[in-house]
Symmetry: C2
Subunit: 422 residues, 2 copies
């Protein structure tokens, strides 16, 4: 019997993905249905509902769910959920009772849905949602600047405000997992696949490390603390879309694999990816990370400094503190994946190893602190990276990637200079 | 309200130490009572019952308790307890109903006791107790060698076999905490004192590091892992008696204080000592460590490699595994202080920091592994200690201590050579 934490919501893994004959029939039917264009964010949500990653959700949220989630982290039935999972459209004509096909920009129909509710979100509603979900306690969330700064710099808020006029609610039948399995073989794993692997290894107490960056020493340290005190760790990368300028999924996964081979005991690690885009929702996204990790059989969510942060909208440890403020629900409706809160980490010369603000009493001068931004700059310029910040084998991969980018830019510049593009 | 784990047994802190007028009256009465000589081990047990460290015990165990504890970790009332806490004597004359005074070798009367039960332990009973409590799964516990080796080399077994013919059971009134408070000011702290300090700091999730040695990098690493994932760590040293050749309590406490000042964040650490002798009971002693730590408000017990080990009587991780085999008791009667199991730890050059067998995939050649015995040898000979094994500030204290020992030996040898002692 599995010793892992049960899926969220107390109803087992709720998987909306069709298979075999049912899938073929629904795909055929979908061709004839009215198509609703969906965002990449919604495409990820469909796939997660398909594979049980968003258990117990069976479809997109009703107005009551939306309101309860924004306001008090609770769906209408009393189940904890941290971020609205809603389907928006500007289509005036679709109506309750209609069956629709959800089609992404890649032309693929990811799901069909029976519309059970259609509700309008006015500008004021969207602003309310944005404030409830995305507003934090950082400088850029201050009352007098939030809306000015957010519309410029907060991709999560921008996404909410850019949503269509209506939300459509109803149960989905999911038709495709997209190209993840092909692009990330052995790494794109469903909740059931990860649970099976962990059961095989006899794990009961498992932590997840959320990653949307290559893995540096600080990430490695977080994972290793968890390895020391848990049965194992799932290094779980976002392999959906990020913002421009971020390092693509395949490069990140290669970095992680290289790091695991050289610096971890593989028996204690699973390297996996999940098919969501970043929502850039800061503390609430940290809660979402924990919520869907529970479905993957994970009961500890590593939350470090500025988890899922965006600009200066959030305090550095707001994503840790929010876990203390969520409702405790009865009967499997509450969040069972708990935060493993880790302070600001770094290499310290006096400590002679990795440390955090909780363990190291020394000063700034003793510590190797490098921001991701500065690292990207150093790598893209081919400059040396300060000792102890990353593992050489990983930096080699990143230098190669950045050299490739530079070549592309140089080719473009040469073309421009020679008039080839003009 | 305190967020700490409640004391073991569900009855709060049970403290048998008298105070004020009651103490003075009982001390006076004790002078007139029959004196029973107690061992140093029993003296420690009395003090622990005095300060609530052995809650819910109110006195020495009855035969039913003794049997249940040896056989199935349970006292007669169904409360978990891992090691018999018994009072032995060879006195043929004391009888049920007598009041006696328990006097240690230092002449101090540590407690009075009303005898409620007197039971004989035959040689066979003692052997049974020794096998139940001290026999492990290591080489020296093999059936064909255990009794030959144990009588030579197992101080715990030797103590049991050297016990008197009878055990006396009954409730104690404790009259003295001995000289601990004077010898270890600020370090010898009662369970209530440690709880008060932790409440003041707002701690809820606390780990203890058991120490009977100076603190090397491996111990530091264990403590620091716990600091990363708990509210704080109590570095809790045995300050009772050890076997000959071990480093005395005051030197050890000085090492720890120096290490905390230079390499820890003091707000996250409490440096304390407890007044017991080593029982050298291996895995069962690990359980005892967790049991009395719960009374100190600690809910996680760090258990590393060969915890409380003796010779080769136990497997290296037997003190971790035994926690999986103890009875789960209802209603506060079970052990609520859980093991925090950490693998074999060391400095690894390739990892570029401290690591364990769970986190480091490298080979022996990359690791700094030094036994306590080899370290003592190097220090006593004034030899260099390999890099990364200990902190220089701590090694300085240890070198001083060993240099002092060597001087004493040299003075003795000079005296001998000059005939002064002859």
């Amino acid at each position: 019997m599995s010793k892992l934490v049960p899926p969220h919501g107390g109803k087992g893994l709720v998987c909306c993905l069709l298979e075999g004959a049912a899938l073929a029939a629904e795909q055929k039917k979908a061709e004839g249905l009215k198509k609703i264009a969906i965002s990449d964010r919604t495409k990820g949500d469909c796939i997660m509902m398909g594979i049980g990653g968003f258990s117990p959700l069976k479809g997109f949220m009703t107005k009551a769910d939306w309101k309860g989630v924004c306001e008090k982290f609770l769906m209408a039935d009393g189940t904890f959920w941290p971020v609205p999972i809603t389907l928006d459209t500007n289509d005036e004509n679709v109506k309750v009772g209609d069956e629709i096909a959800l089609q992404a920009a890649d032309g693929v129909i990811y799901a069909t849905m029976k519309i059970e509710e259609k509700y309008e979100l006015t500008e004021a509603d969207k602003k309310w949602e944005a404030e409830k979900v995305y507003k934090g306690e950082g400088e850029e969330s201050a009352d007098d600047v939030f809306w000015k700064v957010a519309m410029e710099d907060h991709p999560g808020v921008q996404m909410v405000m850019a949503q269509g006029k209506f939300n459509l609610a109803g149960p989905v039948k999911v038709l495709s997992e997209g190209t993840y399995a092909a692009r990330f073989p052995g790494v794109y794993l469903t909740p059931q696949q990860i649970r099976d692997e962990m059961d095989k290894r006899g794990w009961a107490n498992v932590a997840a490390l959320q990653l949307r960056n290559p893995m540096h020493r600080s990430h490695e340290y977080l994972a290793k603390i968890a390895v020391e005190v848990c049965d194992g760790v799932v290094i779980h990368s976002l392999i959906g879309n990020l913002k421009a300028g971020d390092i693509p999924g395949d490069v990140r996964i290669k970095c992680i694999q290289t790091l695991i081979e050289g610096y971890f005991v593989p028996a204690n690690i699973i390297n996996a990816g999940y098919p969501l885009d970043m929502r850039y929702a800061g503390p609430r996204e940290g809660l979402l990370h924990a919520t869907f990790r529970q479905n993957y059989g994970i009961n500890n969510m590593l939350i470090g400094r500025d988890h899922a942060g965006v600009g200066d909208f959030y305090g550095l440890f707001e994503a840790q503190d929010i876990f203390d403020r969520i409702p405790a629900c009865e009967g499997g409706k509450g969040l069972l994946c708990k935060p493993m809160k880790i302070d600001w980490t770094f290499y310290c010369h006096k400590c002679d190893g990795m440390a955090s603000m909780r363990t190291c009493p020394h000063t700034k001068e003793d510590r190797v602190i490098l921001s991701g931004t500065k690292l990207r700059k150093a790598l893209s310029e081919g400059a040396e990276v300060v000792d102890h910040f990353g593992r050489e084998e990983v930096l080699v991969i990143l230098r190669e990637y950045y050299a490739g980018l530079t070549e592309k830019v140089e080719v473009k510049m040469q073309k421009a200079a020679s008039g080839a593009d003009m």
